[in-house]
């Protein structure tokens, strides 16, 4: 770990100007360009690999898609030929791949079989509901999960810790879709004394007017899907945060901090958590990327008009271009989040910066 200590010219630093009041925060040096370039390059390579896989998976494995599209629909040979041409299937595979690459580079993900409209457009339309749902769920579960994880680790072995860990593990083990169905029975239909408070599905009630009414309506629709999603991802945050804080717990610098006379809370907040957050951040970001695809089940069950429902619909047809586009988008989300985590990491951890 003794890295470059001698060759680094000490940063000249006047003895603290009073104006820099918030000097306690991390001062961020510029990220080393090479690091950024390497990470961005890595992400780009991954993305290219995703596209290759998508091509392989959806163009080569499933056979002739036109037959699948037209089965059961009266179609004349001319129409078939027309369709083939429309989907570019009348060309040799290499040419198809060339077309595919060019198309993708232009952000064109092809034409959906079932919607007969551009996949990119479809994805764009369904993107916001997903971001809305996943974003809310992530913020809630991260806020809750990290807090609980920190508490749990800090008082590890206590009853509270055992309960928290147990609950997290149980939630983690429950199939998402099953939980969602239970929620519908319990909280949407209402069972016994529990009134059915929340809508069973959808994102809004058509015809609602007035700002407050619309807002309340939206929130009501959000509660159950969001709760289901939170229940599932919350566990990961709790467990990850707990584990990484436990890793830090024995560290000598915490003893130092305690020896300095810091309160327990301050030791935790100022010293333990910032260090423990480092590994958690990565998990957090990867998770965000995964939750986007994890919302497939929740969206399906709650008829949430996002990418997840779209994916489910595409699966049942199967609408290969749409599946392919969603596959790329879902993977891209994870890659993007990974990249963000990679770029954020050195900001949080000075050791990586050099």
């Amino acid at each position: 770990m003794t890295t470059t200590s001698t060759d680094r010219p000490p940063v000249p630093r006047p003895a603290r100007l009073p104006s820099r009041g918030g000097g306690r925060r991390l001062r961020l040096g510029p990220l080393p360009l090479r690091y950024v370039a390497a990470k961005v390059g890595g992400a780009a390579v991954s993305l290219i690999a995703v596209m290759l896989t998508a091509f392989f998976l959806f163009k080569i494995l499933p056979g002739d898609p036109v037959r699948a599209i037209t089965h059961g629909i009266p179609t004349s040979p001319e129409q078939l030929a027309h369709l083939r041409h429309q989907f570019g299937l009348d060309k040799p595979l290499a040419a198809q791949f060339g077309d595919y690459a060019v198309r993708i580079l232009h952000g064109d993900l092809g034409i959906s079989y079932q919607y007969k409209t551009s996949v990119a457009g479809l994805i764009g339309e369904h993107l916001w509901p997903t971001i809305y749902l996943v974003g809310t769920a992530t913020v809630l579960s991260a806020a809750l999960g990290l807090r609980v994880g920190i508490r749990s680790a800090w008082r590890h072995g206590s009853t509270g810790d055992r309960v928290n860990t147990g609950v997290a593990l149980a939630l983690w083990s429950v199939p998402t879709f099953w939980l969602g169905l239970l929620f519908i029975i319990v909280f949407a239909t209402g069972i016994g004394p529990i009134p059915g408070l929340f809508p069973t599905g959808g994102m809004s009630t058509p015809g609602t007017e007035g700002f407050v009414a619309v807002l309340v309506d939206h929130l009501r629709h959000l509660v159950l899907p969001c709760l289901t999603l939170v229940a599932v991802i919350y566990a990961q945050y709790v467990l990850t945060m707990r584990a990484s804080l436990l890793d830090e717990m024995g560290s000598d610098y915490l003893t130092t901090a305690r020896a300095k006379g810091l309160r327990d809370d301050d030791v935790r907040r100022r010293h333990a958590v910032p260090n423990a957050l480092l590994p958690t951040v990565t998990v957090l970001f990867i998770n965000i990327g995964r939750v986007v695809s994890g919302s497939i089940l929740v969206e399906t069950i709650f008829s949430w008009p996002g990418l997840g429902s779209l994916f489910y619909e595409a699966l049942t047809v199967p609408d290969l271009p749409l599946l392919e586009g969603l596959f790329i988008v879902f993977s891209g989300a994870v890659i993007l989040m990974n990249l963000l985590a990679d770029l954020l990491y050195p900001v949080l951890d000075p050791r990586v910066r050099t």
Partner: protein
């Protein structure tokens, strides 16, 4: 006496690594000559990072030299897998950290028998079976009765016992040479002596040669016949222990000796220890001339200038010491005016009570 062939020798050995961060190369070992004769214990001393471990590892073939040769009984070591395997039956390694050197999932028996299993039946020698051989090795290493230790796991042993197991694991192959890299550094002071006694005893009983790598000059005084002082990848002074440790000539050796606690204690009223300033040496940027000159008290105090060798110190390379037994030193000051007493910035540690410094051993 030079017709005696060294069992192990480094000839103009060079090892470099790509520097850990950024660019450049770290010349960890930079042209080293060192011979180990049969039945001899050689101590290799120096500051942290000067390349001792790298030298030891290279001698065992764990690192391929970037230049020069490792000679075994005068023959260059072959770096084929078969050549190395044969070589490694004869040269054994003992590491600093006995706990780390033992696989926590292997019993003592397995740890010791591992060498036998790797080298097969031929390694058994006169012994009827593996178990007898293992028991014998353990006994030789001072773990008696050996059978009691067979089934123990490393974590059930004390540090000293673990190091004995490691040594037994080396002895089981009846090696001619033991290379010990800081063999007692991680042991408790009270246990240390026992392990050193063991090494000395093996030398006396079996004529085992040993190269002991250490940063502890006291240890060299305890067991070694000869000492080589290393600085920044190069041996800067070598010779018999009595000579080097009581009448060192190289300013670096002198500084090393001066900071030993008891020397300051015993020399209360003297000038006190010479504490070298400056950063720890960096093998990626070896200074020109004498590689010690940026930290050399002779240069810093102006004496080098007075002696008119400062330019040489800063710019002229020193000859590489050969690996033989005689006392030698690589220093411009020593060369220019042999034994000039005014060079000494510190009082010489007590002129040996009894052991008079000799310039030539033989």
């Amino acid at each position: 006496m030079t017709e005696r062939v060294p069992v192990l020798s480094a000839h103009d050995l060079r090892v470099s690594f790509p520097a850990r961060h950024g660019h450049g190369v770290a010349h960890a070992v930079d042209r080293v000559n060192l011979d180990v004769y049969p039945g001899e214990i050689v101590a290799l001393v120096g500051e942290s990072g000067c390349g001792k471990t790298t030298l030891a590892r290279t001698l065992l073939g764990l690192e391929k030299p970037g230049g020069g040769q490792v000679l075994h009984h005068g023959q260059p070591v072959r770096y084929t897998s078969r050549g190395l395997k044969a070589y490694r039956r004869d040269v054994q390694l003992v590491l600093q950290d006995p706990s780390g050197s033992l696989n926590p999932r292997h019993t003592v028996y397995e740890a010791v028998a591992e060498g036998l299993r790797i080298h097969g039946h031929t390694a058994l020698g006169d012994f009827p079976d593996e178990q007898a051989k293992v028991a014998d090795a353990l006994a030789r290493a001072g773990l008696r009765p050996a059978e009691r230790f067979f089934l123990r796991y490393p974590h059930e042993l004390s540090g000293g016992q673990r190091q004995r197991v490691v040594i037994a694991g080396a002895l089981v192959l009846d090696p001619a040479i033991l290379v010990a890299d800081e063999p007692v550094a991680s042991l408790d002071a009270s246990v240390r002596g026992e392990i050193l006694k063991l090494l000395l005893g093996l030398r006396d009983e079996r004529g085992l040669s040993a190269l002991v790598v250490t940063h502890d000059l006291g240890l060299a005084w305890n067991i070694a016949d000869r000492v080589a002082v290393m600085y920044l990848g190069r041996i800067v002074e070598t010779g018999p222990v009595e000579k080097i440790l009581t009448a060192p000539e190289h300013p670096y050796t002198r500084a090393l000796l001066s900071v030993l606690p008891e020397s300051g204690l015993s020399e209360a009223g003297g000038a006190g220890p010479t504490i070298l300033t400056g950063e720890a040496p960096d093998p990626t940027r070896i200074p020109t001339g004498c590689r010690f000159h940026p930290r050399c008290p002779v240069v810093a105090s102006g004496r080098a200038a007075a002696l008119d060798i400062e330019a040489a110190c800063r710019g002229r390379d020193l000859p590489v010491l050969d690996g033989g037994g005689e006392a030698q030193v690589a220093c411009h000051a020593v060369g220019s005016d042999a034994g000039a007493p005014d060079l000494r910035t510190t009082p010489t540690p007590r002129p040996g009570a009894g052991a008079a410094p000799r310039r030539r051993r033989r």
